[in-house]
Amino acid sequence: MDQLLQPYLHASLEAESQARLDELLLLHAAPVIRRTVRNRLGISISLQGTNPQNPDAQDLYQEAMARVVHALNELRQEKLGIDDFRKYVAGIAANVCRDYLRARSPARRRLRDNIRLVLTRHPDFAMWQSDEEQLCGFDFWRHSSVPMTRSGDEKELTATIEELRSARFAREHPARLPLPRVLSDVFVWTGKPIDFNTVVKIVAGLISLREYADDSFDEETFPSVEYSQLETVSAQSVVEQKELLRHLWEVVKTLPSEQRDTYCFLFHDQRGWDLFSLLIEAEIVSLKDLGRALDRSQQEIIRLRSQMPMDGPTLAAELNVSRPQINKWRFRAVKNIRRELEMFWGKNKYS
């Protein structure tokens, strides 16, 4: 049994047991979950278990935490043995990521893109923003004051789809009709603007969209691609690791400030650790050095480190730029760093 779990397992009082459980979750489970989700899905999760740029982050975090708590309860009832708690949590988080990916349907995503293309390209249709909502319909509705159609609950939506199907598609299956024609019939039916997500749901229902899992995202296969086929630099001994990190940091400091910041805040090693933690642990920099090098206060460095490694959307919000811009800085930074490290380490260091 993992030594980390002993205080929790041996706590006799309810209050003490709760305190040990909180400690296990906060200090040991949460960081592992955050790193695993960031690594596998590219979604960063804050210490509070959220991500303002991605509402899925909270669901993922809570689901993983719930499974960990369930496992710890079973552990107390001796239904389970855990040799390495952090590894066990990483396994749970990986399963949650896998379930998340399986629940995503590429068919629906593609239908959504196609509907959006029709709405923005066809002269008779339009899509526009109104009070936080994305509405769509016939183009001339754009300026009308007619209220929008709301989706209602799932039951109501199913009834709408059935009514619509028997009223307008009794003779032809909508899947056999051009998408603009189907949309036209939906709009004729609603008679007023409708929110975009509802239209996607209605059309998906009408054409009996077959949902299937996004297996191509399956992380079962991806990690092998990550570290065996893609260029990876590694160092085994402590001295070698320190040397590698020191050189990496020297190169990073010479980058233009946007590329430097982007690389620093997004970086993670194969275990999911952020650059600042690695540099401090290797005693290459202190918090003060980091502040100086990145032209930021120490408090700012502490705040940023708590969010690292960030994901693209989080960094875009942090730096107040677009995601494609972040990708450009990241792309250039990686190319520059690779060139510099290659010169120093030689290609033989790449495994």
Binding site: L47, S216, S234, G312, R330, R338
Partner: protein, 465 residues
């Protein structure tokens, strides 16, 4: 927060993962600058948390961009070639390792190509009118209530009245023999695309239309041809038939040559030529093959049954066809059964809820084969079948592999005429009807198209008997 004394191990552990509150995090970070012992503890804490596995990180751009899945705007940018060189390189780098995004992109490009010809098909005019008037009314009241605009309107109206009086007085003086002023042209409708009969409809209701009062349904969407190169006058080319198609005009000359369709296959051109010259479609073999045979398997039954809607004795494109039937009052569940011509069951839907009247096959049927289908409804524990015993078998055929490939090629040509002729030849009656309806909207005076449509419809009605 000022920290006095050294930081405890537990507190440092929390600090290192950022689990202290904001002032405390700041307090500890300030303390670490001056206290070597605590800084050392911080390093040790991190070392313990990091563990002793070796350091490894990727330098491959593909790795760093692996989660940057393509968004809609990027798909559009790639399709329209509006992304700059760096962004294109980034997106291509991501696409190298992300098969899902690769599929997204190819599906998007295929759809965009498919959509292109449909952009000239105009939709929703009848409804447009109805709702537009409501918006117009709303805007009118909003406009009129603004004092500045109201004043302007009063002035414009006053000006118009004065102008009319002046014109009247002038026309009176010229009545003796001077040139008459041209009659006043009718004012332009606020909805210039509408026909007058539609304008008469003053119903402002924007609410969903009940089934019984559906708005007039245009049989099939019309298309407006945009900027198509015009051909020389028909008589100059010895043209005997000409059809205004979505891709431009397609004509057949006295020698049976098809003009304006160079990119179509020889087979497609031959079919078009034959149909336009003879003004007749050949009855497809499938009409005979799919004619219903009486049902003799079940005994006589007078139970009221329900209708099978689609597919109805025709050839269908999809090898995962969808089946639709009319609702039967009181049915709590349905079961769709697909059979072969020998009466063997090939597939079944299992029990479907009574509020569903459609089912799509999850598995593929063999192309080029003929199948039968029936629906079994459950009403109060009693089974009701459609087709009933007094009706004939419902058959359909899945378009052959060869046909499906030919159709795929043909669709690239953006020709409703070529498609209509193809569908008719293959026995895809509903699709053929749709294509000819579309063509007639663009060629309202074409007698040959009307004949062809009538012929297709006659196949439909005879198969429904």
């Amino acid at each position: 927060m000022e920290i006095t004394g050294h930081i405890s191990a537990t507190r440092m552990e929390r600090f290192s993962i950022g689990a202290l509150d904001h002032p405390e995090m700041n307090g500890v970070s300030v303390h670490l600058v001056d206290c070597r012992a605590c800084h050392h503890l911080f390093v040790e804490t991190l070392r313990r948390q990091l563990g002793d596995s070796s350091l490894s990180f990727s330098l491959a751009p593909e790795f760093w961009l692996r989660h940057e899945h393509l968004e809609y705007e990027q798909l559009v940018g790639l399709a329209d070639k509006t992304v700059d060189a760096t962004e294109r390189e980034i997106l291509e780098t991501h696409l190298k390792t992300c098969s899902s995004c690769r599929e997204d992109l190819s599906s998007f490009l295929a759809f965009q190509e498919q959509l292109e010809p449909q952009l000239s098909v105009r939709y929703g005019r009848v409804e447009t009118n109805r709702v537009y008037r409501m918006g117009w009314k709303d805007r009118w009241f909003g406009f009129a209530w603004s004092p500045a605009y109201a004043t302007a309107i009063v002035l414009i109206v006053f000006g118009l009245i004065t102008a009319v009086l002046v014109i009247k007085r002038r026309s009176a003086t010229l009545e003796a023999g001077g040139p008459r002023p041209s009659p006043v042209k009718p004012s332009i409708s606020p909805t210039p695309t509408l026909g007058s009969e539609v304008v008469k409809n003053t119903s402002p209701t924007p609410a969903p239309v009940p089934t019984e009062q559906l708005p007039i349904r245009v049989p099939s969407p019309a298309f407006a041809v945009k900027n198509k190169p015009s051909m020389a006058p028909a008589e100059n080319r010895g043209v005997i038939a000409e059809v205004n198609d979505e891709r431009g005009a397609i004509a057949v000359d006295r020698n049976g040559n098809v003009l304006g369709a160079d990119d179509l296959s020889q087979e497609a051109k031959r079919d078009i030529s034959e149909v336009l010259v003879t003004q007749k479609l050949k009855t497809p073999q499938s009409n005979e093959d799919l004619a219903g045979a009486p049902i003799t398997l079940r005994g006589p039954d007078n139970t009221p049954t329900f209708r099978l809607l689609s597919p109805g004795r025709e050839v269908v494109l999809s090898d995962h066809p969808s089946f639709a039937w009319g609702k039967l009052a009181g049915a709590t569940s349905y079961r769709v059964v697909i059979g072969d011509l020998k009466g063997h069951e090939i597939a079944s839907s299992g029990q479907i809820s009574g509020d569903q009247t459609m089912w799509t096959m999850p598995t593929a049927l063999k192309r080029g084969e003929i199948y039968t289908w029936e629906v079994e409804a459950n009403v109060d524990g009693k089974k009701v079948f459609a087709p009933g015993t007094s009706q004939t078998q419902m058959k359909f055929m899945v378009l052959s592999d060869r046909g499906a490939k030919e159709l795929e090629e043909l669709k690239k040509a953006n020709s409703h005429l070529a498609l209509g002729v193809f569908y008719a030849r293959e026995g895809m009656v509903t699709d053929a009807e749709l294509e000819f309806q579309i063509l007639i909207q663009a060629n309202p005076k074409s007698s040959v198209l009307k004949k062809l449509l009538k012929q297709v419809q006659s196949w439909k009605s005879s198969s429904a008997d």
